[in-house]
């Protein structure tokens, strides 16, 4: 029996601006299995980030249901949603979203503070995670003192703080150069293969294709098609050929 981590049922999201209603998601149905690496692809404005927000409980859908680990997210209390964000999901954003008032180390410890982990333990864990992402020597720097790639590494370490079962990444490489982007992708992929973390990533980045198990193409708020890895590899070859 496949182990479904994320399931969406006819998820609709509308944004109201005055009398205008913009339908960003128009009935999304997807199922994501545990341990998968999924890329959400699609043109700008197609609804990737909106879907990302629905899956990550960062916003509520206008209609439809999101199930994570079999739980209907709309049935959760405020405290449960906070705990869900704290323990189950690690978020990675295009613009890093580090807290500028906290050092790299302070950013990584924050989710553990929210989780009530004792100080000594969380300091050790933060150190271990920052070492893992290659920032052991930059631990006490503020985000302002780090490069884009380094900031994204801190964000990844922070996302891992409470051992989430899902990593949600919204265009994690969009602000990075090709080589740094590649390193970040490899790092995320490594978490996926070594720790079995489910990765769901919105991206324009073709480098993401060859690490994905499946690619969900989104267009105008709908799932246009879902491609498997074997279908993808051919296309990556083609892409390579164009360069």
């Amino acid at each position: 029996m496949p182990d479904i981590v994320v399931k969406t049922e006819d998820v609709v999201k509308e944004y109201r601006m005055g009398s205008n209603v913009l339908r960003a998601l128009d009935g999304i149905n997807i199922e994501i299995q545990r341990g998968e690496y999924i890329s959400l692809m699609g043109p700008s404005g197609s609804g990737k980030s909106t879907l990302f927000n629905m899956i990550g409980a960062l916003d509520r859908p206008t209609a439809g249901e999101v199930y994570i680990d079999g739980q209907n997210m709309s049935h959760l209390s405020q405290r449960q949603i906070a705990a869900f964000r704290c323990h189950r999901v690690g978020y990675i954003f295009q613009s890093y979203n580090l807290l500028n008032v906290r050092t790299a180390h302070g950013n990584v410890t924050l989710p553990m503070i929210f989780a009530g982990i004792p100080e000594k333990q969380r300091n050790e864990k933060a150190k271990k995670l920052l070492d893992k992402v290659g920032l052991g020597d930059r631990m006490y720097h503020l985000p302002d003192e780090l490069s884009g790639g380094q900031r994204q590494r801190v964000a990844i370490a922070r996302a891992l703080a409470n051992d989430p079962s899902i990593i949600l990444a919204d265009e994690p490489t969009a602000n990075l150069d090709t080589i740094t982007g590649r390193e970040i992708i490899d790092l995320i992929k490594q978490l996926n293969t070594e720790q079995g973390v489910t990765v769901i990533s919105a991206t324009h980045d073709l480098k993401m294709l060859d690490v994905s198990d499946r690619i969900v193409d989104i267009r105008d708020g709908l799932v246009e098609r879902i491609r498997n890895r074997d279908e993808i590899e051919i296309e990556v070859g083609e892409v390579g050929g164009h360069e």
Binding site: V5, L58, Q71, R79, A83, R85, L98, N162
Partner: protein, 225 residues
């Protein structure tokens, strides 16, 4: 595997932990905090200087020292209190508006941070508490600086008007003269200014903080500053 594990309830953060987070934040944003605090400092400085000035005049009148001076202007004895009550009310309004405005700005420019903290598992209540703590500290510190500046201003003005006599009759402690209103005294006045600044800062930030904390993280993080 951990599948179907029910989702637990988020715990409340110990107060000390909130205190530490707010302190760290204030320390790093020190320059910025001072700008925010400037509104409070100015308001309280104005209030304290007007009030101190008023008490100095009263104390010197009581002592009979300033009689020569006030006699120059016959209307003064009657006029002083109403004029100064107005000034004090005005300065209070300046305080309230200045502080509310600073706090609104301080919260608005941190929407993104609020959204991010909620992504990491912060409860709405924690976000509100964090802002109340920070604004309380800022309010107290800003008001203390403001009160000292206001006091200095009043003393300089007093020296100009009454010369060194000022220090013989300086209204340091509270007093209850027979023929006049209760005099707070400068020490209590400073304390009053600090507490007032703190309370106003906390009140001023509570509404914007509460509103920001209620926003879904996606919306809070959309705001680019």
């Amino acid at each position: 595997m951990e599948q179907q594990r029910p989702i637990e309830e988020q715990i409340d953060l110990p107060f000390l932990e909130s205190l530490r987070i707010s302190f760290q934040s204030l320390k790093i944003r020190f320059g910025r905090s001072i700008i925010t605090t400037a509104g409070i400092t100015l308001g309280i400085a104005f209030l304290v200087s007007v009030w101190t000035n008023n008490e100095i005049e009263f104390a010197l009148q009581e002592s009979g020292r300033s009689s020569e001076i006030t006699n120059i202007d016959e209307a003064a004895e009657q006029g002083i209190s109403t004029k100064d009550i107005w000034l004090i009310i005005m300065s209070l309004i300046v305080c309230v508006v200045g502080i509310a405005n600073s706090m609104l700005m301080a919260v608005t420019e941190r929407f993104r941070e609020i959204g991010t903290m909620k992504c990491l598992g912060a409860l709405d209540g924690f976000v509100v508490r964090l802002f109340l703590l920070e604004s309380g500290f800022q309010g107290f510190a800003g008001a203390l600086i403001g009160a000292l500046i206001g006091l200095l201003g009043a003393v300089i003005l007093g020296l100009k008007n009454y010369g060194l006599d000022l220090f013989f009759y300086f209204p340091l402690l509270p007093a209850r003269p027979e023929n006049g209103p209760f005099q707070l005294g400068v020490l209590l006045l400073i304390l009053f200014g600090c507490v007032l600044g703190m309370i106003l800062a906390v009140i001023g930030s509570s509404f914007p903080a509460w509103r920001a904390a209620k926003l879904p993280p996606a919306e809070a993080m959309r705001t680019e500053v």
